[in-house]
């Protein structure tokens, strides 16, 4: 294998592994803000216990997010030196802003969030929780801005020729608000909220099934269900906006997402299917003209297909892009159905009567994770063969000083280390879940519920 494919595998592997954790931290951050806010507002012990339990799990995901994230920042330089030179003027400033505005904020207050419970007043602690949450939100801002600039470059000009060429900023805010950054950012944020909410749903559903810690498990489940329902629906809108943006800005990627080759025909929308890139055909269950309708509100309008692009300017792994995209969309729909149905049961007062529904929620934690990963794979593989869309090819972006053997060594190291990390993470997570929250509140559910129903609408 050559340096290019090894470097791509290494980057994909390290970023995909890293991306298990930050969405959990962002999503759990939101849930922690809500739980601790309810504690401050109501003074009920159950919210304190809930918050303290989730802080411990948050610490675990956050720690792994930091540990695996620091690799990413340096991997641009180690494996993609030409890319780093090309985009440094632009990408670098977003990365510097991320470090100073986002990471410093979240890591600074994290100490107080984790260790400060007995050291600061509850208001200062709540403030720290909010700051950690905001910091994690900001960190998503800058990295998505940087990535979006690669998808839809704006606010720059090219200086120099050939291999010495590089992009320089002409307008900082035009770079930040490039055509795709805001819609992709909202999509990423909401994906993260869902990842966090579904982890909470899973753990609480597990307790409810086992009949353990019910005083905390039930109200906590409702908080997370509210978050999950709102954002599953919202994700439909940001997803649609993103697809519209891709149609406008990256037509070759859009064509790959739906396996559409012929520009002179209407474009179909597949529920599931298979793309054969050799014969340039896509087969499957489809809504004829569906993509045309989605983009132009008309079933008859043709959509630009892959054939409109030279073979060297469009993605080769069309079927992979197609499948990743369809997995993401299917999971998105599934999450809407699941959360709406559960919310309806909640409204009817029958939420916790179905044991099998709780069983579904225990495993549903995997769905947003898979959707987040699949979405990014579709977005990044669909961008190929470009690392910066229409400007710099992935094959030209490598470090010339680095040999294939070196990348192979580091790739093997990462594979070993990350496998151990994943096993340890799951082992400790499982252990913390089995151990459950430390209850300081009385574990008599009825008493709590009677009191809570009077005081707090979310418990109804």
């Amino acid at each position: 294998m050559d340096v290019e494919i090894l470097s791509r595998i290494q980057f994909a592997f390290t970023i995909a592994f890293h991306y298990i954790y930050p969405p959990l931290s962002i999503g759990l951050g939101l849930i922690l803000v809500i739980m601790e806010g309810l504690y401050l507002k109501t003074g009920l012990k159950i919210y304190e216990d809930m918050t303290r339990f989730w802080i411990r799990i948050f610490a675990l995901t956050f720690g792994l997010g930091v540990a695996t994230g620091i690799i990413m920042e340096f991997e641009f330089g180690t494996n993609w030196a030409t890319y780093s030179k090309y985009v440094g003027d632009i990408f670098g400033s977003a990365l510097a802003a991320e470090g100073i505005f986002a990471f410093a904020l979240e890591s600074g207050f994290l100490g107080i969030l984790l260790f400060g419970w007995n050291r600061v007043s509850s208001k200062v602690h709540f403030f720290s929780t909010i700051m950690v949450f905001l910091g994690s939100m900001f960190s998503a801002v800058w990295i998505v801005v940087a990535n979006s600039w690669q998808q839809t470059p704006a606010g720059y000009h090219i200086v120099g020729e050939g291999l010495q060429a590089r992009a320089e900023i002409t307008d900082f805010w035009e770079m930040v608000f490039n055509p795709s950054s805001m819609e992709r950012l909202s999509h990423v944020w909401i994906g993260a909220f869902l990842a966090g909410a579904f982890l909470v749903l899973s753990v609480h559903a597990y307790y409810i099934r086992k009949g353990k810690h019910l005083a905390i498990a039930k109200p906590g489940f409702k908080i997370a269900l509210a978050v999950a329902t709102i954002f599953s629906l919202a994700q439909l809108f940001t997803g649609h906006k993103s697809a519209d943006g891709v149609a406008k800005n990256q037509p070759a990627k859009l064509a790959a997402l739906e396996g559409h080759y012929d520009s002179s025909t209407v474009a179909d929308m597949y529920l599931l299917g298979w793309v054969n890139n050799k014969t340039q055909t896509t087969t499957g269950i489809k809504i004829p003209g569906g993509l045309s309708f989605l983009l132009h509100q008309d079933f008859k309008t043709p959509v630009t297909g892959l054939n409109a692009f030279r073979p060297e300017d469009r993605p080769i792994q069309v079927n992979a892009v197609f499948q990743f995209y369809h997995i993401m969309v299917a999971i998105g729909m599934l999450l809407i159905a699941l959360t709406l149905y559960s919310s309806w049961l909640w409204w009817r007062g029958k939420l916790f009567e179905n044991k099998w529904l709780m069983g579904v929620f225990v495993w549903a934690v995997l769905l947003p994770q898979i959707a987040n990963q699949a979405g990014w794979f579709a977005a990044e593989m669909g961008r190929q063969p470009w690392v910066v869309y229409n400007l710099l090819r992935t094959s030209d972006a490598l470090s010339k000083a680095v040999k294939a053997e070196q990348v192979l060594v580091s790739l093997i190291l990462f594979t070993l280390v990350y496998t151990i990390l994943l096993v340890l993470f799951l082992y400790l997570l499982n252990k913390k879940i089995k151990h459950g929250p430390e209850l300081t509140a009385p574990d008599e559910e009825k008493e709590i519920e009677a009191k809570s129903i009077r005081e707090n609408p979310i418990m109804n």
């Binding site: 610490a59 930091v66 030196a81 670098g92 470090g99 990471f103 410093a104 400060g116 291999l163």
Partner: protein, 342 residues
Amino acid sequence: MFLGLDYNTWWFLVFGAVISGYAILDGFDLGAGALHLFLKKEESRRIALNAIGPVWDGNEVWLVIAGGALFAGFPIAYAAVFSAFYLPVMVFLIGLIWRAVAIEFRSKEPGKLWRLTWDIVYTFACVVVTFSLGLMLGNVALGIPLNEEKEFSGSMLSFFNLFSILVGITTLALFMMHGAIYLAMKTENRLYVKLTVLAKNFTIFFVVAFALTTLYTLLYIPHLSDKIRSNPQYFIFPVIMILAIASIPRQLKRGNYRLAFLFSSITIASLLIAVAVEVFPYLLYASNNPANSITIDNAASSAKTMKTLLIIAMIGTPLVATYTAFVFWTFKGKVKLDEMSY
């Protein structure tokens, strides 16, 4: 231009300040980790971990900021340095992963073997991270072969030269001294007494390593002291450095660990300033052909970006300083273990 200095020089200063901040802050974490196995009792090890517990993560962020600052301000240097030091950087990063993971995971199981395993991983990771940091610094000070495209054109094995190994050992000694002083400041009773002894021993270790490295530099790499020799006003930096180093054992003897910590921080900063004075305006000197060297001017981003970066730094620095101070203030005083501790 801003206050008489051009943007590139400003950004060199900012980058240097961030690197110094990282070395001072994460330096005591890494040093505390490197000496972890010298502490024998379970409770001592827990107290040592909790002394850095609330702050090490924030300290590591300085490295992230430094990486971003180099990438943004001097992308050519960022690309050259990290692709040249490919394997040492990977070892360094994987070391950082294990450091973080060891701190997080150690306390999660009560078993003796579990904890001992993580103690060993932790110490080993901190030693590897610190040594590779020093090794890379030594090679940057010496210069490495670069081709016309400003990419590394030598062999990895050349990184293990005597000078760079000495710098690596000196860095390790410096951080261990710094970490021991920090821990002494945060502990009491018998652990405190033990750490005062360790602090003294590591100070001796550092002074010897430092003296050897300095001697080697003056004898065999005289060009690394050219700048200071020809500009008498720069002589102030080695003077401050020597005074700071000399003050450490004095404060240790008086039992004033806060002042000792201040002086070991000044030592770290002044060592880096001395290196910066000597290499400026080079960011990476091409040892094969000086014309291929990477300087602050040929590596810099556009003037517009440099200006944007300075604005970001001017807004960000007071913010970071404020909440760093707030966190350190919150956890001031001796370490007390509670139910949220590691």
